[in-house]
Symmetry: C2
Subunit: 477 residues, 2 copies
């Protein structure tokens, strides 16, 4: 009885400290598919547990988005099937292994980016011009939109419904996030995505970083400018996507400085790296996820499964190494459990993620196209038997896990903060109200330079005049 | 009995969550006197409660530093008395009310700064060349130095003892903090101390801000360069104070973005604004702290006391307004309890603090020299009867208090983090390894410009050459 009452007291206190049940609000989630969806799910579940109603709006053809007890999934029709999506994704994977000349690869990559943009744009149109859905969203009186800024659609909805928004992202590869938050981004030590550089660059790498920075701005334009027409059409406003994104109240960013290189951040950027590394469940055997046919020469100590709980597997004390495609979720699970990695990046931010882990001596990066089985076994042997890899990843792990608030609690706090205060305008820097000439003080510098030159000019002229006078005088004498 | 056991369970849980008793470490504190000392005390007390041994090293002549059960105070002899210190401080206060021409004021201020610097420098020498004290510090095997960066002495000790350090500060007025952390500091929207500007500046104010920025760099040099000789002498290293300060593991900064204007921060800058607003104790009467003789015309409803618990007073529900000299501790107590303010700044950062509160519509700033009793009563009437002041300060208060971790817990977490991990090198940006030409990519831009001009020049020459050929050809035809 006594035990029971104390347990109740404990439960009550735990509820008070960790759940702090709030007045239920309404959260609209506009997510992206694939791993992006997997990464946003824990936040949605926790918001549900805290008494909020969570509604996700997604296209009816998708890969991983399933209904759940924790949230309502509202779909809108799109003119393609789930099968089509799967085939496109597989193509993207296979492309990595096709050998192509550099220029063809660039052209094809740009074409693919354009293609994906068009899919996102059309999805967005399908959402915005779905009258029933928009009426439903209007009537629902949401308190906040939580959205993935890979597509601007969520923020267009937020603007239309006049609701504050929280962005949930690993970062936007073309640098739109830095532009939209007015976050300084010195090219001298912050490597651009896809350059493969670390934060310590040679002169050549720094030249490359500056050139690539300009190239990425063009890519940003290629990807996002088509949405500006839609913004004008739907919101009746002339607004660039940067201006649209600058309206975000909070950016929840899925990294920290154990993984990402230290750099400036802005007050509304909240770092929640490692949010996906949930408490592990125990495992009993060692296993291999593999969806194809079993190889004939498979060793007896390898078991094949269609799906495996990766996080639980990494937490197993017998796990010695982690062969990964270097997606950011997986990498954080590796950091979280202190498992050294062999990184075989395929596309997206994966190559950059791999560079980060390798540069910290916590893993070895291999080239998916060029590597041999010998390379793989050598890399595995090295990360397992060279103690420094285990030491380095354990150091990263202990730094990563030593934090005043768990990333999931932090994410939920800030979503609820935005709900409670109807945004976070006190975190918006005045830089948003300046044009780039003002921001970089170019007008001030121009004035000061002009004043200096004028002063020098007048001084010089006066001197010359005096000299002339003296000279003439002495001459006349 | 049951009640008692449940209370015990509650106490146990509270202890677990809030105190989380750690293996005791040793913390060396090198503080500054006055309000700086008052602001660092809660951290020292909490560190003591968490099982650490806390030792403060201070000059034997000081204003507010008293021994306590929570920490050991070690003094070193200085060649002046407490009385001398008090007189100097009073002079500083009276100076505010003396009318002086602009240039005299500037010269006198610079002389006073130089004078204070010399006092700090001599104090530091007294500490460093006190053999017994230094031997004691060496033998004590401290885990961390917590220091006030207004004087570089603490960091010299940290370097000498090879211990990581935590800086505890409101910010260094001349901008040394931004330089030492490599924190971007755009002059277009971040007003410099003492300019009286907000984050929204006119063109003239921006010009002023740039000019004042350069002036402050000179002041920084005036104040801190004398320490460079001491660094060379004592550490046998050629090191500027900026380089010395860049060694800090963590900067605990006593502001947040409810009070300070939103701006970039660096990963090792932890904001703990409001750390001094402790839980209030109840009050029963309204009162006035006043140390002089009671005025003859004192109203019956005013009681005079030598000392008052300001924080408890502000927390009283009947407190309608707060007349303050706009020190940052007091302002945070006002924000914390949502009391509108009449701000009469005297010196230091007080005028800038007052501008911040006034620009947010939560108080009225008066000029201590020019104001009349009518101005004061008008200001008081306005902040009390114009509802917007109360609404604004209450909004600021609710934003300020809505945080995932209490500032004191956050401060203690990071001090202990540095103790556990022997620093925080993973938060150190690679910018520290670049010179300013590299940092601003000036070498890269020069190369790219040169390449562009060369390309244009060759193209032009080729065109001219072709034209000439064609022209000659047509001519010969």
């Amino acid at each position: 009885m006594l035990h029971c009452i104390c347990q109740q007291a404990t439960w009550f206190l735990l509820t008070f400290f960790f759940l702090k049940l709030s007045d239920g609000g309404k959260v609209l989630v506009i997510p992206m598919d694939g791993s992006h969806w997997l990464s946003i799910q824990p936040v949605m579940e926790r918001l549900h547990h805290r008494g909020h109603q969570v509604i996700a709006v997604v296209p009816d053809a998708n890969l991983l988005i399933k209904p759940s007890d924790h949230y309502i999934v509202k779909t809108f029709a799109v003119p393609y099937s789930t099968e089509y999506l799967k085939t496109e994704l597989q193509k993207l994977g296979y492309k990595v292994f096709v050998h192509q000349p550099f220029l063809t690869r660039i052209t094809e990559t740009l074409a693919r980016i354009r293609n994906i943009t068009m899919i996102y744009l059309n999805n967005c149109k399908q959402l915005l011009y779905n009258k029933d859905l928009i009426t439903y969203l209007q009537d629902s009186k949401f308190n906040v939109v939580v959205m993935d800024p890979l597509s601007p659609c969520g923020q267009i909805v937020a603007e239309y419904l006049s609701i504050p928004s929280v962005f949930y992202s690993r970062g936007i590869p073309c640098g739109l996030d830095a532009e939209a938050t007015k976050c300084p981004n010195p090219l001298s030590y912050i490597p651009k995505f896809f350059t493969g550089s670390t934060d310590h660059m040679t002169f050549n790498q720094r030249v490359n970083n500056v050139l690539f920075g300009s190239f990425q701005s063009m890519v940003c334009n290629l990807v996002y400018s088509p949405f500006e027409g839609l913004i004008k059409e739907f919101l009746h406003r002339d607004m660039t996507v940067v201006e649209l994104y600058s309206q975000a109240s909070i950016w929840l960013l899925r990294y920290d400085f154990v993984f990402e290189y230290p750099r400036p951040i802005m007050p509304n950027m909240i770092l929640i790296g490692g949010i996906n590394c949930a408490k592990e469940k125990p495992l009993t055997q060692v296993l291999w996820r593999y969806t194809g046919e079993a190889p004939i020469n498979l060793a007896n100590n390898t078991k094949l499964f269609n799906w495996l709980p990766q996080n639980d597997l990494l937490a197993h004390p017998k796990t010695r190494a982690f062969i990964t495609h270097a997606g950011s979720n997986g990498i954080y699970e590796g950091i979280c459990h202190g498992v050294p990695m062999v990184l075989i990046p395929l596309f997206g931010d994966q190559a950059d993620n791999a560079v980060r882990i390798e540069s910290r001596g916590a893993g070895i990066k291999l080239d998916a196209v060029k590597m041999t089985s010998k390379d793989l076994s050598n890399a595995l042997r090295t990360v397992i038997y060279d103690k420094r890899y285990k030491e380095n990843i354990q150091r990263l792990s202990s730094l990563h896990l030593d934090r005043p608030v768990e990333p999931l609690d932090l994410a939920v706090h800030w979503v609820e903060f935005v709900m409670r205060h109807k945004g976070a305008p006190h975190l918006r820097p005045a830089a948003h109200d300046l044009n780039w000439i003002q921001y970089y003080s170019i007008d001030v510098i121009a004035l000061l330079l002009a004043a200096t030159f004028l002063f020098l000019f007048i001084s010089l002229k006066s001197c010359l005049f005096c000299c002339k006078k003296c000279f003439c005088k002495s001459k006349s004498n």
